[in-house]
Amino acid sequence: MLELALKGSKRYFGWIACLLAVIGVGVGCYMWQLSFGLGLTGMSRDVSWGFYIAQFTFLVGVAASAVMLVLPYYLHHYKAFGRITILGEFLAVASVSMCLLFIIADLGQPMRALNVILYPTPNSILFWDMIVLNGYLFLNIIIGWQVLQAEKNSVAPPKWVKPLIYISIPWAVSIHTVTAFLYCGLPGRGFWLTAILAPRFLASAFAAGPAFLILLCLLVRKLTKFDPGKEQIQTLAKIVTYGILLNVFFLLCEVFVVFYSKIPEHMDHMTYLYAGLHGHGVLVPWMWTSIALMIFSIILLVNPFTRQKEGILTVACICVFIGTWIDKGLGMISGGFVPSPLHHITEYVPTKPEIAITLGIYAVGFLVLTLLFKIAITVKEEAEGV
């Protein structure tokens, strides 16, 4: 089936060329980072994780959201999703690939990355994260490929794929739970030290992921002869609605606990993010933009009249995606480091090369996504005889 990715229109190859150009710049900057060190980024002794780890966290969520298609289709026999589960699975493959690249980009000694396998350390959550992320990547590659191949040959998928599909459902939950455990098990980091972090991560994942999938479905309908379907998009929209409502609800739970208990170690981070602390507050406008976008999207999504209009739904999905991206991809990680455990305030702003590397990795993800979607949609077009 791979050959299907090699044939396409001028527009298709033009898009790939653009992505390759962005990747090229990213690779160049990464070489620079490799020779200079992570000092090239905005990270510091106090804010020791930055943009890379934040993007990784956000994208784990996008990856996990594939389960929102797989679960209704395979466990509840919601037939409509059969048309698009492959899109969810391939989105997961692209997202997890980006996650792994972001981790590599963040390592001070990337050539030693295999030490995690050579000296397995089960007490470290990072060890488990490595296992669940790679496992999820392989599960989705194998399942997606087998099901698509079967569709191409108009036969049923091999029987052994079924157990893998069932395993992939709790596995999707595990990737984001383990990722949250990276943060929420650390003493002295009050911002993350909350049992609701994993549920909150999952809620924002089930909002951002399906929202992005809706946008992709609409794009696919516009650019190809394959229509993911109106019903499918509307069901996804309901999932996004529940996801974003839960996400905001969990955030409000946090706000209550933090500001009613008034324990400084927990409260100071929230104050820093939403109001600024001791005159420092680069993220304040961003965080309020995020809140505004999430609330605006809720208004558009909860009302069935606006949700059912695909134009408005598009706007709502963009708001959900950007809103949750700011919340997780910008505030969640550096917010946990400011103030530092010694109560110093060192702010974090990513540098230009850091952003170029980040964009490069996103471009790799989009390249993987483009190639996989091209294959899947060509198969679907042929199967439907259009």
Binding site: L38, M43, G108, F337
Partner: protein, 261 residues
Amino acid sequence: MENSRRNFLKIAGISALGLSATPVLDAFALDISMLDMKINATPGKDAITAKRWGMVIDTRKFESEEDLKPMIEACHKIHNVPVLENKRHEIKWIWEEEFKHAFPNLEHEYVNESVEHLPFLVLCNHCKDAPCVRACPTKATFKREDGIILMDFHRCIGCRFCMAACPYGSRSFNFRDPRPFIKDINKKFPTRARGVVEKCNFCAERLAVGQQPACVEASKGALVFGDLENPESEVRRLLKTNYTIRRKVALGTGPSVYYIV
């Protein structure tokens, strides 16, 4: 045209060579310095040993920042700690903090003047139940039998999970190659490469040859080092006769550094 092509080929060739040779060179570099480290930290016949090493810092003996300098300098010189201008990239093993930063949960408005303005020495607490050891995915940070939390600079992948885990900000990361920023290199102790984490090692390499930690030696008796599990030790005598505090005890990490205030 010809010229630029030749230049391109030259650069491409050099880069390819560089890329393929770097890991090999790195591997050699590692072996040699690892050998160094083994010679350095393995207890010899004169070694001083303990069940659990600990430190008592008598802060009453310090009056100003100046009093702390000799200890910080002794440590940083011996351990090849670089001096970096950029605060963000700073490396420090032992340094000074105001009371409100060293003990953020003990600070209050009416704290006595001497404490308020007194600089406090802070360093790795060599916790009994260290969160950094729990977090490290490669056992590059590990706890030795005598309670010292050590780093294997050659195994560290630079993920900085330990830095997120440490509630005392005791860990530094080499954001860039530290070597150009070390004034005189102490050849008896390894320098670090960029991309690894480091911190105070309670002078494991000095204990191995029967010496006290460098900061203790430079402290004129203000810092006392000894076995916390030996009731006869000097640290235990001090703990018995003075009221001491430790940093962030509520977190349950069990710091091994005690402060007399």
